[in-house]
């Protein structure tokens, strides 16, 4: 068993790019779900807005990649309105249904043959991120070089994306933190608990929910951008339902309605996930037998890992429903 590899990879999982893009998406989802109580099950759709916003600059519009940032944000604002206008006046479950469906529609449209000229079909879009990569080289973080020492070793390419990614996490987190400390955040938290009480005090619940949905969505869009920049490509199937649910899992793990929870949750999620994956792969190098019954082959590691993630979540909900950072006292007043 190669423990040094397991440890190195686990640390990379903990602070790596997966944790980064999950954290950004989770911060956005936390605005909607954690603070406002909106069931957005389509965060992947917002992420796709960002990724395709960047990708389409080169692939379709033929303009500088940097235009992709405002374009992606604009996409997500439009998507937020499309999701919100018909549903935010209705019961919470309707938003859930519409968001999950919208995200799937987006994925199916962007991977369709018919719209290949715009979105590149199932091949996605590649080769648009040079202007981002070059900055890394320019400031002296050479893409191909190795930096650091065990257990922290990264290529220059990885470091550059990680630095940018964590800066985005920090900025977005601080932004949301300030908002949630403000009277605006107070209205959201009140809506989460009792919409009618908020209405009776003269605030337009619909408008605040819309703002929350769009703001959280726009943050999710940034997550999609970071992910696309890291891969240097945009693939439709990276924005499927599973992604939304893993992000939600990571958020609940960290603790909803806490900005810190939405950062630490994804880190723990990917830390544990990567550890388990590496550990189980080492264990299952040779098929594991009990008597003459094969318990696990290396090809089954993935499935087992997802099962264990599910189990962890169940245990967490039973023994620590407020997550790692959640507020136990707040939980105590659930359902009065």
């Amino acid at each position: 068993m190669d423990w040094s590899l397991i440890i190195e990879n686990s640390i990379k999982g903990f602070i790596g790019i997966n944790a980064v893009y999950f954290a950004i998406a989770a911060i956005g989802l936390n605005v909607q779900f954690g603070f406002t109580g909106l069931l957005n099950f389509g965060q992947a759709g917002f992420m796709a807005c960002g990724a395709y916003g960047l990708g389409m600059t080169a692939h379709y519009f033929g303009i500088s990649m940097w235009w992709g940032i405002p374009i992606g944000i604009a996409f997500s604002v439009v998507l937020g309105f499309l999701m919100g206008i018909p549903t935010l006046r209705l019961r919470a479950d309707y938003l859930a249904i519409v968001t999950i469906a919208s995200a799937e529609i987006i994925r199916l449209v962007v991977r369709s043959v018919k719209f290949k000229t715009y979105f590149g079909g199932s091949d996605g879009i590649n080769g648009f991120s040079d202007s981002f990569r070059n900055i890394g080289d320019d400031i002296g973080i050479v893409q191909a070089n190795q930096y650091g020492f065990w257990p922290l070793r990264f290529t220059g390419r990885e470091i550059w994306t990680l630095v940018v990614g964590w800066v985005v996490v920090a900025v977005v987190a601080y932004f949301v933190y300030l908002l949630m400390k403000s009277p605006w955040g107070r209205v959201l938290k009140a809506i989460r608990e009792d919409e009618d009480a908020v209405r009776s005090l003269g605030k337009s619940v619909f408008s605040y929910k819309m703002q929350s949905l769009i703001l959280g969505g726009a943050i999710g869009t940034m997550s999609g951008m970071i992910f696309a920049l890291d891969r240097g490509s945009v693939q439709p199937d990276n924005y499927s339902r599973d992604v939304t649910f893993y992000i939600l899992t990571a958020l609940v793990l960290g603790g909803v309605a806490k900005v810190s929870g939405s950062i630490v949750g994804p880190m723990i999620f990917w830390g544990i996930f990567t550890f388990m994956d590496n550990f189980l792969r080492q264990v299952a190098k040779d098929p594991v037998h009990l008597g003459n019954f094969t318990i696990m082959k290396s090809t089954q590691v993935g499935q087992l890992n997802y099962m264990l993630i599910g189990l962890t979540l169940i245990l967490l909900m039973v023994y620590r429903p407020q997550g790692v950072f959640g507020n136990r006292k707040e939980m105590a007043f659930d359902g009065h």
Partner: protein
């Protein structure tokens, strides 16, 4: 019981204004802040509200009484936009309100509380109160980011909130979660929070339910205080002593309709009211003074 010589000036004015009003359902008032006509709401086969006409006198305390299921809460819901009427029209300060959303109703100065309290249990008591303040700069997200834009306003809101909390005797609970309050304290909090909106018409749905008797007296003082500050109060209450004690005018509902109107003294002698409560004319006055 309030004696004649302890009546405040506002009480005297309000009662004088109402003295000439006809003692009959739907009576016209000299200066109505709210008037409604033909308001009807059915739930399936049940006619919950069927009000032909009603007016609420500005600057007075009006009690809305009636047996359980009379339609008092439903009428509140309709007037404040929380429920949709089948038919009817009503106006607040001369402005037609049938199609006004509930939050607009509140920001126009017509604020209501709920029979089943809606304290926001996961916010602290003081945050509940601050939420009530209107026109907060920091409630726009682009301002929320910059504390210096809203901190000063927040401080003055907090000051006003603390004053109200103290007045309602829950100042010591300031930093507790509202979920930690007792049922009666929640009623008080909700009433205080509604006042944070600086309303002109306060509609209270059973504000005293679950509040201890000593504090009830105190609340009556507050309600009179609101009127003395120029507000109009419409409240639902089952405790007849309280109604008698505090209100200038009483409106009685039964089975969705308004069956009687008058001063507390008139109402306590009205056979139709006794009938509605007891379902028989043999009953003795419910509202007799002890």
């Amino acid at each position: 019981m309030v004696t004649e010589n302890s009546l405040s000036e506002a009480t005297v004015v309000a009662r004088a204004a109402l003295s000439g009003v006809e003692r009959a359902p739907g009576a016209a008032k000299p200066d109505a802040i709210l008037n409604a006509s033909g308001v009807r709401r059915e739930f399936g086969g049940i006619v919950a509200v069927d009000v032909e006409h009603v007016e609420i006198q500005r600057g007075s305390i009006t009690a809305l009484i009636g047996p359980n299921g009379a339609g008092k809460t439903t009428l509140f819901n309709l007037l404040t936009g929380f429920d949709k009427a089948n038919t009817g029209s009503w106006a607040f300060n001369g402005k037609s309100m049938e199609h006004v959303a509930p939050h607009k109703t509140a920001s126009l100065g017509m604020v209501r509380t709920f029979q089943l309290t809606k304290s926001l249990t996961k916010l602290s008591v003081i945050e509940n109160m601050r939420l009530g303040a209107t026109d907060q700069k920091g409630e726009k997200w682009w301002n929320g980011l910059f504390g210096r834009i809203w901190k000063a306003q927040e401080a003055s809101i907090t000051e006003r909130a603390e004053e109200l909390l103290n007045r309602f005797k829950i100042g010591h609970m300031r930093d507790e979660y509202a979920g930690a309050l007792s049922g009666g304290q929640r009623k008080l909090l909700e009433m205080a929070r509604a006042l944070m909106t600086n309303p002109t018409l306060v509609m209270l749905d059973e504000p005293m339910a679950g509040v201890n008797p000593a504090l009830k007296q105190n609340l009556n003082e507050h309600i009179r205080g609101l009127r003395d500050q120029g507000m109009t109060v419409l409240f639902v209450e089952h405790d007849m002593d309280m109604v008698h004690d505090v209100s200038d005018w009483v409106i009685v509902m039964a089975e969705g309709r308004i069956i009687a109107e008058g001063t507390p003294d008139d109402i306590s002698k009205n056979p139709a009211v006794i009938d509605a409560y007891l379902g028989t004319r043999q009953g003795q006055s419910l509202l007799e003074d002890e």
